[in-house]
Each structure stands twice: as C-alpha cells, then as structure tokens.
Symmetry: C2
Subunit: 228 residues, 2 copies
C-alpha cells in the first residue's frame, strides 16, 4: 500500500501546464533564461521562478549562472528521453500537438545574444579563434593570447581599449541553438560591432536574428575558417 511518492512526484512536476511547456521548450537541448521560459509558459517571471526551483529540486533541471542571466537546461539526457517518450505517448493518444513550425533558420544561423554573436556563426567563430590559438581555455574561462591580440589589431580591434572596461574581455556563453559555447564578453561585443560597422551584417527590426550580406558572409567565413 505505502509505496512512497515515486512516479507521482515527477508526474506532478510535469503535470502543470506551465512547467510542461517549459520542459518541452528545453527538450530541444537549448538553454533558456528564466524570463524566456516564463514567456514559454505564459506566466510571469515570479511564477516561473518558483516553477523552475521546483523542477530543479526535483532533479529535472540544471541551471548555469552566467552574468545576470541564469540559463536552465534539462538536468541530463535521461530527462530529455522521459519528456520525449511522454510526448510520443501523448501524440499517440490523439492529443496531436501544434508543430514547432519552420522556426526561422536565420535565427539559428546567426543572432544577437545580449550584445554578441550567437548561433552557428557565433560558435564557429569561437571554434576558429581557439583553433588558431588566438584564444585559449583557462579553466572555466577563456583568455586572449598575444597572437590573438595582434591578429585582432589587424582587423581593427584594439584590445587595450576594451581592457579599460570593467567587463571581462572574454567569456564563454552557452549557445542555445548550438548547445555549445560562443564568445561573449567585451571582445565578443566588439567583434559583432565591427561586423555591423563594416556592413558585413545587420540587425533585423523585429527578430533577434543577424542577417549577413553575401559579401559579409564570404569575409566572415574566410576570417574564421573551420579546418577539417
């Protein structure tokens, strides 16, 4: 009889519509902020915060603090699989859900994240900078090498200017579409700014996506190659 609160607990966690929407949104493997998740769940940030705390306490979510943001992800692979299987089950019962839709591939390619470049291009840029020894990973953080400093000067970015700011120069930022790190910090901001200044790319009015011009695209890919 007394078998203890077992599947009931996780069932209840998933059983709230707001939480279910949050979890569904996170099943893509992307990390989202509390505010974004509040939007997904259709609730205020306060409410979302308590929901997220419960989900974390229940072991379904993990959070990663990053500046003033707090990125939430599913705790691990097992959670994703559970959610996926429940979604599959629900779909089989006839509760066919609204499909995610086209989902703006442009947003996945390149978009603004706070003030720096994110998406496929953002991840690619950091990968390339590390591959060329311009940036190296130091523990959890990132550090600019001397080679990197001179390379950047050549494309018009004066790092000494950036050092005057109290903001860290390099910082790793979790990319929610690629689920890998891209470059944040004042250097990340400076790089994006230079792309925009050079006319390689421009921001869009409504969306967070960054649109590269054909020429800018060419230049960017040349500047940050991905070697085999």
């Amino acid at each position: 009889m007394k078998e203890g609160p077992d599947i009931a607990q996780i069932g209840a966690l998933i059983g709230d519509p707001a939480r279910a929407n949050m979890l569904a949104a996170l099943t893509g493997g992307r990390a989202l902020t509390a505010t974004e998740l509040a939007g997904v769940g259709g609730i205020t940030v306060q409410t979302a915060s308590t929901h997220l705390a419960k989900l974390e306490a229940g072991g379904l979510l993990a959070q990663r603090k990053q500046g003033r943001h707090r990125y939430f992800t599913l705790a691990d692979e097992a959670v994703a699989r559970l959610i996926e299987s429940m979604m599959g089950f629900a779909a089989g019962r006839g509760h066919l859900r609204h499909q995610p839709g086209p989902k703006e591939p442009a947003l996945r390619k390149a978009r603004i994240c706070y003030d720096h470049l994110a998406g496929d291009y953002g991840v690619r840029m950091l990968d390339s900078l590390i591959a060329s020894s311009s940036i190296e990973a130091v523990g959890e953080g990132l550090a600019l090498t001397e080679k990197g400093e001179s390379d950047l000067k050549r494309i018009g970015i004066d790092v000494s200017d950036l050092r005057s700011s109290r903001r860290p120069l390099c910082r790793s930022c979790l990319d929610w579409s690629e689920r890998r790190a891209h470059l944040a910090g004042s250097l990340g901001k400076a790089l994006l700014s230079s792309f925009l200044d050079k006319g390689w790319a421009r921001r869009t009015a409504e969306s967070r996506s960054i649109l590269f011009s054909p020429e800018g695209d060419r230049q960017f890919l040349k500047l940050f190659p991905v070697d085999a």
Copy 2:
C-alpha cells in the same frame, strides 16, 4: 507559446499519489477491481471511482465489466511501457521505492476468486477443459458440451442440479495473476467445491490462497492435463 495541454495532462493524471499507486499496481498486467485499487491507493471506494473514471477518460485505463465486478487494466502496452519508464527514471533519481516483496507465490498458483478457482491452476483447468472439448467458446461466453457433461458426471458433478440455479453455468472470468480467463459460474463453483470436498485442497484462514495437498495436486494435474 500555446502548445496545448499535452504531456501536462498525462503528467497530471500520473501526478496524484493515489492514481500513481493504482497505475503501479496495474503495471504487473493484472486486472484489479475498483475496491482492490482503492486499497492500493489508500483511499475510499468513492474517491477511487472518480480517479478511475479520470484515468479511463484520459485513455490510460480500460475496464471490463464482469458481473458486479469491474476489472480495470492498463489500456494497452504503451501505457505499461510509459509507467515502467517513469518508474525507472524515478528510481534513477534516488527515489528508490519499496520493493513489492515475495508476493506469496501460493496466491499465484491457486486461490479463490469469489467462489471458484483462480490463479495458475484455474487457468490451467479451463484450458484443459477446452482442449478436451468439454467446454467450447461461444461468442463471448462459454458453453458446456455433451461430452463435457458426461465427463463431469464421472467425477461426481451433476450438471442438471446446477442448471436449476439461475446463475449461469459457465462463465469466463479474467484472472488477475495470469491475465487470462478461468472458469467461473456455477460450474466453476461446483468444481472448486468438489476439490475441497475430496480433500484435494483446502482454503487458508487469512489469505485467499488455496492449498493443494500432494495427493490432490497429483489428482488435479492428472484430471486436467496440459498437452504440448
């Protein structure tokens, strides 16, 4: 944002402790009555009834009416798999549950079901009677053949006596430990009574299990053989 009530709905269904316990109890594949499930859930029958109605409406349960009993089972294989996977997940999170325990194998072998024989022996008996053409399936029900009637007379059961009762002679009863049908009805009752009268078996005080004596065991197996 609006993705519809999807996994939240089944999550909520599973999220109630009483319902979760019921579902867990049914995951063994056995069919249980509302009263039994109420016991499992630690609630009254009324409450259990509403829970069961919800689970059925949600497509998780199916019920099969049988006389004044109502046997509930998981709707299908998919439900069982979902519950199993959730239990596995929960166990992995550290919510290790109380193990079902030894579970009285005697109860699975032979027990009383209302007034007839159930369990492995009950199922075996009906199988054997059908195999020997003593009973044949007619639509949903069961019917005694002439051969069956004479065979039974030989072991001391006068069917004409039984016919005088308004109670059906043969009835199929879902066995919850075997998940297959066994013989109910006045004939099922008569058969069990004869076993008890002959001293082949006896009821136990506390449990519902039927204990066969070594000799009774031998006789029963000889009388109701299972052919290859």
